[in-house]
């Protein structure tokens, strides 16, 4: 591999990325890389710095440190960047006066990588009518429209910030199914933040946990499976389990479930039944004390 391919496989490269609002540190000199063809979940409690990081990547806010997205500087090359980057922020950011047909016409007019045919095909699967205005649509339908617009753009990086906030389960399932079946491929990269971790954990390839402006977990799902383990321990072995310094423990059916970080799985297997922890459990364990 030469240098050129090395820089193109890393879609996002951040070194010492920092941002402060007055005395509050939103991002505390973080480093991370996002490779091509990954689906990265950026997970953190409210106010942890998720949105700040996304804004920096999208060139919507100033920041300190080094950041390159698709080899471009978001601060100075935002317009070129937006040809290759798509973005859905939480629901209802489409302007309320816009008609469905106008949205398609406008994006087709200004976006060189937009395919009207693709977009109309996606829209044909929904109940959206060309003359409808956004203000007449339900939240779920607005997201369908936005997703149809975005999936019709041949972009390298798709950034989703709480894309399914306030949607019912049917729309949420459909949203991620569409993304996986009709959009995602090895040429594309998706960076997603959400609080509904359970719904996306099976599609993620990478996980970043962010807390108080620092990255506390940054690993692929495979690495997470190797590193973290949950053990269901009977009352007799609880003390032995506690000696291994678990991240978290909780009671269930008279037994105790311990979550371990980096303890060899063979050793844990002697204590009880081994599980792969869910992202949600991992999240709760690692974020302990955030709001205290």
């Amino acid at each position: 591999m030469n240098d050129v391919s090395a820089t193109t496989t890393n879609i996002v490269r951040a070194r010492g990325l920092a941002k402060r609002y007055g005395s509050t540190v939103a991002l505390d000199r973080v480093d991370f890389d996002i490779a091509a063809g990954r689906i990265v979940g950026l997970i953190g409690p409210n106010g942890a710095g998720k949105t700040t990081a996304l804004k920096a990547i999208l060139g919507l806010a100033e920041f300190e440190g080094e950041l390159s997205v698709l080899g471009l500087d978001p601060r100075t090359q935002r317009t070129q960047l937006m040809q290759q980057v798509c973005f859905i922020a939480d629901v209802a950011v489409l302007p309320r006066w816009l008609r469905v047909s106008e949205a398609v016409d406008f994006v087709a007019g200004v976006h060189p990588r937009f395919s009207r045919e693709k977009c109309l095909a996606f829209l044909a699967r929904t109940k959206l009518q060309p003359t409808q205005r956004v203000r007449e649509l339900s939240k779920g339908m607005i997201v369908q429209l936005h997703l149809a617009l975005v999936m019709a753009i041949d972009a390298k990086l798709l950034v989703l910030d709480e894309p399914t906030l306030g949607l019912d389960i049917l729309y949420r399932k459909e949203f991620y199914q569409n993304l996986l079946n009709d959009y995602f491929d090895e040429q594309k990269t998706i960076l997603v933040t959400t609080h509904q971790v359970e719904e996306i954990e099976h599609i993620l390839t990478d996980l970043i946990f962010i807390k108080d402006g620092r990255l506390i977990v940054n690993a692929s799902m495979d690495q997470i499976g190797e590193r973290y383990a949950e053990v269901m321990v009977g009352p007799d072995k609880v003390e032995a389990a506690r000696a291994l310094k678990p991240l978290n423990e909780r009671g269930i059916f008279g037994k105790t479930v311990f979550l371990f970080d980096g303890v060899p799985q063979a050793q844990l297997a002697q204590l009880g039944e081994l599980h792969k922890p869910s992202v949600a459990d991992l999240f709760v364990a690692t974020m302990k004390g955030t709001y205290a």
């Binding site: 919507l60 040809q83 973005f87 950011v93 006066w97 060189p112």
Partner: protein, 350 residues
């Protein structure tokens, strides 16, 4: 193998800046169809309705008092008029039609003022700015499209509405004349003065645009800058500044009369979008000389009141005046500041 696909890629990703800009203008029109298109038409419609009502009332009154307007023959009158008198009639007609269009111009001023105040604020308030910013459109193009919509698109549509109003009014008067067996064609429908007036209205759009730039820039800056209540920022800041200057007599200390501040600063950054604001600058003694009765009569005697109000001399005088170009420079600076704020300010506090 790579070469053709790279070429195709390059062709595909090359966006046409002119095309993008036209789409941005179209976007502004879609969003503001009500203000840009319907408001001037409705203002014109109200004028026509009032004119119609007046004619009906006049007709009813005449009938009640047994006054007969018939028998007057405009044909004969036109025939017997001297060239001077015809020109005078045309001038009067032009003045009348211009006066009719004042409600449209006032409507346009209000529409453009509030359009500019909301142009870089409303989409931040409803967060749709995040959608617009997710597209490959520069902040420069976005802001410039709003400038062009305010100073070219909206005035052009208002002038189109004005022409429709003029035609509707002439038809109305003609129908009324016809009702009284008077042939309106030779006098009312003389195309030369009408076309001359309309052409001038259209040609004045760029001058009005240049004159409006300080207001455009100031309102866009407030719109891009304010985290809430852009109207308050736009109006309260210059007024409060003027009031403080007034109390402290600071401007007088600098031998600047406070009237100068109100006229040349506040007037220019808040009222520049009123069409024809450049009227009384540059040579020709200004509008005041013409507003005295004698001068109006003299002007009418010279058969071109409107032409003298909107004379080429006056227009060139405005174009040559430092007031105009200092304003243009200030307007450009304010627009540049608005673009800078647009870059990173995506939130409001509402």
């Amino acid at each position: 193998m790579n070469a053709p696909s790279e070429i195709r890629q390059a062709a595909m990703t090359k966006s046409n800046p002119m095309q993008t800009f036209l789409w941005l203008l179209k976007r502004e029109y879609w969003e503001h169809r009500g203000g840009f298109f319907w408001a001037p038409l409705i203002a014109g419609g109200v004028v026509i309705a009032i004119a119609l009502l007046s004619l009906v009332v006049a007709e009813a009154t005449a009938a009640r008092h047994g006054i007969n307007l018939g028998g007057m023959n405009l044909d004969t009158i036109a025939h017997n008029m001297t060239a001077d008198q015809i020109a005078q009639f045309n001038a009067g007609l032009t003045v009348g039609l211009m006066a009719l269009s004042i409600p449209i111009m006032i409507t346009l001023s209000f529409v453009v003022f509030f359009y500019l105040l909301g142009a870089l604020y409303d989409d931040r308030r409803d967060r749709s700015v995040l959608f617009w910013k997710s597209l490959p459109v520069s902040d420069l193009d976005t802001v410039l499209s709003k400038v062009v919509a305010a100073v070219l698109v909206a005035p052009a549509l208002a002038i189109a509405a004005t022409i429709v109003l003029h035609l509707a009014f002439l038809i109305l008067v003609s129908a009324y004349a016809g009702l009284h067996s008077v042939n309106p064609l030779p006098l009312l429908w003389n195309p030369a003065p009408l076309l001359a007036m309309w052409t001038k209205l259209i040609l004045l759009i760029p001058l009005n645009a240049l004159w409006a730039l300080p207001t455009v820039g100031w309102l866009l800056l407030c719109s891009a800058f304010a985290r809430s209540k852009p109207f308050l920022w736009a109006v309260a800041v210059p007024v409060a500044f003027g009031a403080v200057m007034g109390f402290t007599h600071l401007l007088q200390q600098l031998s600047i009369p406070s009237a100068w501040y109100w006229k040349n600063i506040v007037g220019r950054i808040l009222f520049g979008v009123v069409p024809g604001g450049w009227f009384d600058i540059g040579g020709n003694g200004g509008i005041r000389a013409l507003s005295t009765g004698d001068n109006v009569n003299i002007a009418l005697d010279r058969f071109d009141l409107v032409n003298s109000l909107l004379s080429w001399n006056r227009i060139l005088g405005a174009l040559a005046s430092p007031e105009l170009w200092i304003g243009v420079a200030a307007g450009v600076a304010l627009i540049v500041a608005a673009i800078a704020f647009r870059r990173h300010r995506v939130e409001t506090s509402v």
